[in-house]
């Protein structure tokens, strides 16, 4: 897709490197490890209403942005271990 970085999977995400154009998410991604940090700068990350599922590990946030835009994204951070139970 011209003028955009298309992301299909975890490897694509982790290979983004320096962002020089808009990013679009073309499919759902289930991350198995901490996603690489990306610096979105003033570009747009369009999730196209896809879902990224975060891993069951100690997480860090992973997006920098300087007047950029994150839109149309679903984040599933629910697949986590059960720490304890409560009545």
């Amino acid at each position: 897709m011209g003028g955009e970085i298309s992301i299909y999977n975890e490897a694509d995400w982790n290979g983004i490197g320096e962002v020089t154009q808009h990013i679009t998410l073309e499919s759902d991604i289930v991350f198995t490890s901490q996603p690489n940090n990306i610096d979105l700068k003033s570009y747009t990350f369009d999730g196209q209403n896809h879902t990224i599922t975060l891993p069951n590990i100690s997480m860090e946030s992973f997006i920098d942005m300087n007047y950029g835009n994150i839109k149309n994204l679903r984040i599933d951070a629910s697949n986590k271990y059960i720490k304890y139970q409560r009545n």
Binding site: E60, M65, I75
Partner: protein, 514 residues
């Protein structure tokens, strides 16, 4: 046994998605998580920019979005920007946590808007500190418009919209600053609807104006929990509060101040404490209205001489109320009895020497009412001239459709044809202030009856009444007919959840017109 899903967030940037101190916009981003750590936010820790059409829901359905965490926020810890059309649905168990924004910091001379945002869930804590639905703390001028909060619990220290607030710059009084609420609705919450006490470290908020317009609050403490300190300017107009507790310093506005400089209550605000104290419990209380007044002006020493409240009341729909407010205080108790209180909260009162009052609206217009008089029998004269209601206390046996959720679509069918479908977030269909009428026709187009759908967003009979609370912002439906049940049994009201289906007008859905 409840299972809690835990997301372990590294402490570096204290958020799930965006690193700290970033800027831009976040729109149409939806997060499913249960935050279980202190000082953590869903989207970003400190963020400059706007949020729009975002949401947070629990990791597990019907569970917590924040659990056992203090000073955490569903969206952003500190936001420098606007927030529009965002929602959070889920419970909070924590301390000083908020479903959306923990702090909203507004530069002096600027303002931020929070519009069309809503929260629904329980606000639980064991820490004697507030949890809130929309924002925990604001600093500077913030305008809340069309925000909805449904608090689904009775824990103390739960606040619907804002817990703490301050001037920008913590005491900079060079600019007049505002915290304003317009068309906002809060249901539930044991402490207060909209605002808790101001920031504890601020001793003077001179220059801060509070505007609350066209707002509704159902909860024990009404609009504002407590205002401490001096120099408040409070403007309340067209507001309705219901179910405010009485008898324990829980009037609509509890003000503890040494110098209240201005309180404007204008344009027909209906305040529950007034209704309860004056009109319902009036004959058994020692000047309950006066007591409310004293709560406001207790330290001024001239409560009997100062006319703060009556001077600013401008009620169009119940001019008799104005008359009574201007009456000498000693006559207030008698002036409030007898009365007619309409379903929408409007109170019509009249002197004892007048034996009847013609309602401004006929019953067929969808007006419900209760009427009482401790002194004598009453006769209600409906405008058609029919006199058939007698007694000291008359309460039509109206029941209520209940337990809507925010997303329920309500469908009304007449003769199996869909008449209207609406929900609480569709303002084009729901007109909160107008009773919609449905004419019931049979196959030959004879009029069998008239149904009035009373979209009345603030009324409930009692906390312990069988109908409980209408637990969505803005919707009560009453269907009533001047015909028998058999005549109009083809009317149905249904929600999109099957368990709340109603297929006839018997029982809960019908009110016979006299």
């Amino acid at each position: 046994m409840r299972q809690i899903n835990i997301l372990n967030i590294n402490e570096t940037n204290k958020s799930i998605l965006v690193n700290d101190n970033q800027s831009g916009t976040i729109s149409n981003v939806h997060l499913k998580v249960t935050i279980t750590q202190d000082n953590v936010a869903g989207f970003a820790n400190t963020f400059t920019g706007d949020l729009s059409e975002c949401s947070i829901i629990p990791a597990t359905d019907n569970d917590y979005i924040i659990y056992d965490a203090s000073e955490s926020a569903g969206f952003v810890k500190t936001l420098y920007g606007h927030m529009n059309r965002c929602y959070a649905i889920g419970d909070i168990y924590g301390s000083e946590s908020c479903a959306m924004i923990e702090s909203m910091i507004v530069p002096t001379g600027s303002h931020y808007n929070i519009k069309e945002c809503y929260f629904k869930g329980a606000l639980e804590n064991n820490f004697s500190s507030f949890n809130t639905g929309i924002v925990y703390y604001t600093e500077g001028t913030v305008l809340f418009e069309e925000c909805y909060v449904v608090i689904e619990n009775d824990y103390p220290y739960s606040v619907g919209i804002v817990a703490y607030y301050s001037l920008s710059g913590l005491g900079d009084t060079s600019d007049m600053e505002i915290i304003a609420f317009k068309n906002c609705y809060v249901y539930g919450g044991i402490m207060c609807g909209f605002m808790g006490p101001q920031n504890e470290i601020v001793t003077s908020l001179e220059g801060l104006n509070i505007y609350i317009e066209d707002c509704y609050a159902i909860g024990d403490f009404g609009l504002i929990l407590s205002l401490e300190g001096d120099d408040w300017i409070i403007n309340i107009s067209n507001c309705v509060c219901a179910d405010v507790l009485i008898g324990n310093n829980s009037d609509i506005v509890i003000i503890e101040s040494n110098n209240i400089i201005n309180i404007n209550i204008i344009k027909g605000s209906i305040l529950s404490a007034w209704n309860i104290n004056v009109w319902i419990a009036g004959s058994n209380e020692d000047y309950p209205m006066l007591r409310a007044f004293l709560n406001i002006d207790t330290s001024s020493g001239d409560a009997y001489e100062t006319d703060i409240w009556s001077g600013y009341i401008n009620s169009v729909s119940s001019p008799e109320l104005i008359s009574n407010m201007h009456a000498p205080w000693g006559e207030l108790n008698g002036g409030g009895d007898p009365h007619i209180k309409m379903l929408d909260g409007t109170v019509y009162t009249y002197p004892h020497e007048i034996g009847y009052l013609t309602l401004l609206k006929g019953i067929s217009d969808g007006v419900d009412f209760e009427i009482s008089c401790s002194a004598r029998k009453l006769t209600l004269q409906e405008r058609t001239g029919v006199k058939n209601v007698h007694g000291n206390i008359i309460k039509p046996n109206t029941k209520w459709l209940k337990d809507f959720s925010f997303f329920d679509n309500v469908t009304i069918k007449v003769n199996n044809d869909e008449y209207v479908t609406f929900n609480c977030i569709d303002p084009k269909i729901i007109d909160m202030h107008v009773n919609k009428l449905i004419t019931i026709n049979n196959s030959t187009n004879d009029i069998l009856g008239v149904c009035a759908i009373n979209l009345d967003k603030y009324y409930k009979k009692s906390k312990y009444f069988y109908c409980k609370i209408i637990n969505i912002p803005g919707l009560t439906i009453v269907i009533k007919s001047d015909k028998t049940t058999a005549d109009i049994n083809q009317v149905s009201i249904s929600l999109d959840r099957e368990k709340y289906m109603y297929h006839d007008l018997e029982g809960a859905m019908i009110k016979q017109v006299f």
